[in-house]
């Protein structure tokens, strides 16, 4: 538990005893239930951080010095020197495993050094022998070889370096016109380590930061790994992924003391609404669907016409996997009566339905909003209304549910969603829905509805029906 929360809890327990709310025995039991973080624990954490930074900086410094390219030194000497960081870091890693396994600082630092040591050696050799090969090849190979070290040494810092490398590699690979096919298998390979760690220390700070980095990696990885031959598929993929994260977070970290302790669910929560707000505009729905398919020239697992057929297949596999995952998580949430995240689940389902309609039509263009008599105008209007109604419904749902369960943060979040929606519809309006009379009437109607809801709630509150 964080120190500020610890001291708050201790002050509260003392106050409860003074006020006679709990007796001394209960207070002792409560203090025993939440033991203070010892100085030794804090020192251990500090030692891990300093050891990782120290050893990491030494290896990085070696890489930078060697990158100067000391071509005047004989080749044999340079090749020998290139192996020094590799052999020494591997040696330290094996030593840590055999002799210092109970010391996290050794395990963490040696794991990071082993990962960087390989990258340093391979990089130096390709410099010495003028080997063609981009930095992303080196990062991918280093990440793949990092995995056994991360597992064997149970290293959190190594896990962070691994996830960071994987994300950077997939971004670089796509930007260079390649593909990020390896992202998903390599990401899946680290999941057991993340799950094991979360089970051991569910709400610990390391679990929290690993969770945030994992969510960030998934957020970036999904976007860059998609080949995007089917325009607009990203809309469904992101909507379903955010819903999955929200559901998974709720199932695994449902009793988290704060939103920050549930990074997976929080990412899904925020991502769902940010995406939904984006989808209330026209641009994501333009030129999408099968009519705008960017076909590859053959079924071969190769590059063709700017797209990779294998990566294209991976798009469908990933999208199908996410949908299957979503169905399983939604079923589990219903079974365990976790209903709150189903609001974001419903949002994802609505997005998928809108995508199917827009993709099947394929007629929405940048100019669709100009012709009210056209079919594409009606589709666009229907999507606009569905998306706005879903966000409105979800906002109201969170306000009411937060109120019913006495969770002020949920009430505030629901109110924030509603405020943002109202601002967007009031200020940033697109051409096809500029009709001021219609908008004004909708605003007034919703205002009346909110006032009526407030009146009904006040009456029930005064009768003591709701907390």
């Amino acid at each position: 538990m964080a120190r500020d929360r610890e001291s708050w809890l201790r002050r509260e327990i003392s106050a409860w005893v003074t006020e006679g709310i709990v007796d001394e025995d209960t207070a002792r039991a409560l203090r025993g239930r939440y033991p203070p973080t010892s100085e030794a624990d804090a020192r251990k954490a500090l030692s891990v951080v300093f050891a990782v930074i120290g050893l990491g900086l030494i290896v990085l410094g070696t890489i930078v010095v060697a990158a100067f390219n000391w071509e005047d030194i004989p080749r044999v000497a340079r090749v020998s020197l290139a192996f020094v960081p590799l052999v020494s870091s591997y040696g330290i890693a094996v030593f840590s495993f055999l002799r210092r396994y109970d010391r996290p600082a050794w395990r963490e630092a040696s794991c990071v050094a082993a990962i960087l040591g390989f990258a340093a050696c391979a990089g130096l050799l390709s410099q010495i022998y003028q080997i063609r090969g981009d930095a992303q090849d080196l990062i991918l190979l280093s990440a793949a070889l990092a995995l056994p070290f991360v597992y064997a040494l149970r290293s959190n810092a190594g896990t962070l370096v691994y996830l960071g490398s994987l994300t950077v590699w997939s971004s670089m690979s796509q930007m260079d016109g390649g593909n990020s096919l390896w992202y998903w298998p390599l990401f899946a390979a680290i999941v057991p380590r993340l799950v094991t760690h979360a089970r051991r220390d569910r709400y610990g700070s390391t679990t929290s930061y690993l969770g945030w980095v994992t969510a960030l990696s998934l957020f970036v990885g999904l976007g860059v790994s998609m080949e995007k031959t089917l325009p607009g598929l990203w809309i469904v993929a992101y909507a379903v992924m955010f819903a999955c994260l929200r559901l998974a977070g709720s199932l695994a970290f449902g009793d988290a003391p704060s939103r920050g302790s549930d990074p997976i669910g929080s990412t899904g929560f925020l991502g769902s609404y940010i995406l939904a707000f984006m989808l209330t505009y026209t641009w994501p729905w333009r030129d999408i669907g099968w009519k705008h398919y960017r076909a590859t020239s053959s079924g071969a697992l190769t590059w063709a016409g700017g797209f990779f057929a294998a990566a294209e297949t991976a798009d469908y596999v990933v999208a199908a996997g996410l949908i299957a995952c979503f169905a399983a998580l939604a079923a589990a949430a219903i079974r365990r009566k976790r209903l709150a995240p189903l609001a974001e689940g419903a949002l994802a389902a609505a997005v998928a339905a809108c995508y199917l309609v827009a993709a099947a039509s394929g007629a929405i263009t940048a100019y669709s909003y100009r012709d009210p008599s056209g079919e594409e105008f009606r589709i666009l209007l229907a999507i606009h209304i569905v998306m706005n109604a879903c966000i409105l419904g979800a906002g109201v749902f969170h306000v009411l549910r937060g109120y019913a369960s006495a969770r002020l943060s949920q009430v505030n979040f629901g109110a924030l969603v509603l405020c943002v929606l109202i601002c967007l519809r009031f200020v940033f309006v697109e051409g096809f829905f500029e009709n001021m009379i219609a908008r004004g009437l909708v605003f007034m109607g919703l205002g009346v509805a909110f006032l009526a809801l407030n009146y009904a709630l006040s009456r029930r509150l005064s009768k003591g029906d709701i907390r």
Partner: protein
């Protein structure tokens, strides 16, 4: 038991990490041991790599297409993303180029490279970087700008692998 398995995995990974780099050294040293030197015309500029420092990025047009009897087109048997053996020859000025693409591994050594057909007649670049001493990088960059079109690399070849041994200008 679990700890022994983990130790074995750790040692195996160390062996793979070392092995990958040792194989790199061995194959390149084999090429550098050959006496025959090839020159290929290049054009380029100089970016920076975080691991390997400053380098000259270039393309070697003579290794991206055929110049021999086939009239510059790749043979029909060559599929997309397939490797082939590019047998080298020297032009009138002594610069190397691809004479023909072979399906079979040539018997001799030192005069062929393993290249990859990317599809639509495009050949994957086999040489594209020359790492430079950081103190010399700016000077080399200026030389490139002054001697546009006259730069070349020298390469030694063995077992289909080429290693760049230097960079120069013939004007």
């Amino acid at each position: 038991m679990k700890r022994k398995i983990l130790l074995a995995v750790l040692l195996l990974t160390c062996a793979v990490g070392l092995g990958v780099n040792i194989v790199t050294v061995m194959t390149r040293e084999a090429a550098l041991a050959r006496e025959s030197v090839w020159r290929f015309r290049i054009g380029g500029f100089d970016p920076l790599d975080p691991f390997r420092g400053r380098y000259v990025e270039f393309s070697a047009p003579a290794l991206l297409s055929l110049a021999g009897d086939s009239g510059g087109s790749l043979p029909p048997w060559l599929g997309t993303d397939e490797e082939f053996f590019a047998v080298l020859e020297r032009d009138e000025a002594g610069f190397g180029r691809i004479a023909f693409a072979s399906e079979q591994r040539p018997g001799s050594d030192g005069d062929w490279l393993t290249l990859r057909h990317l599809g639509d007649g495009r050949v994957g670049p086999v040489f594209s970087r020359y790492y430079v001493n950081a103190a010399r990088a700016d000077k080399l960059d200026r030389e490139f700008a002054r001697n546009r079109g006259s730069a070349y690399i020298t390469v030694r070849v063995s077992g289909g692998i080429g290693v760049i041994t230097g960079i120069g200008f013939d004007r």
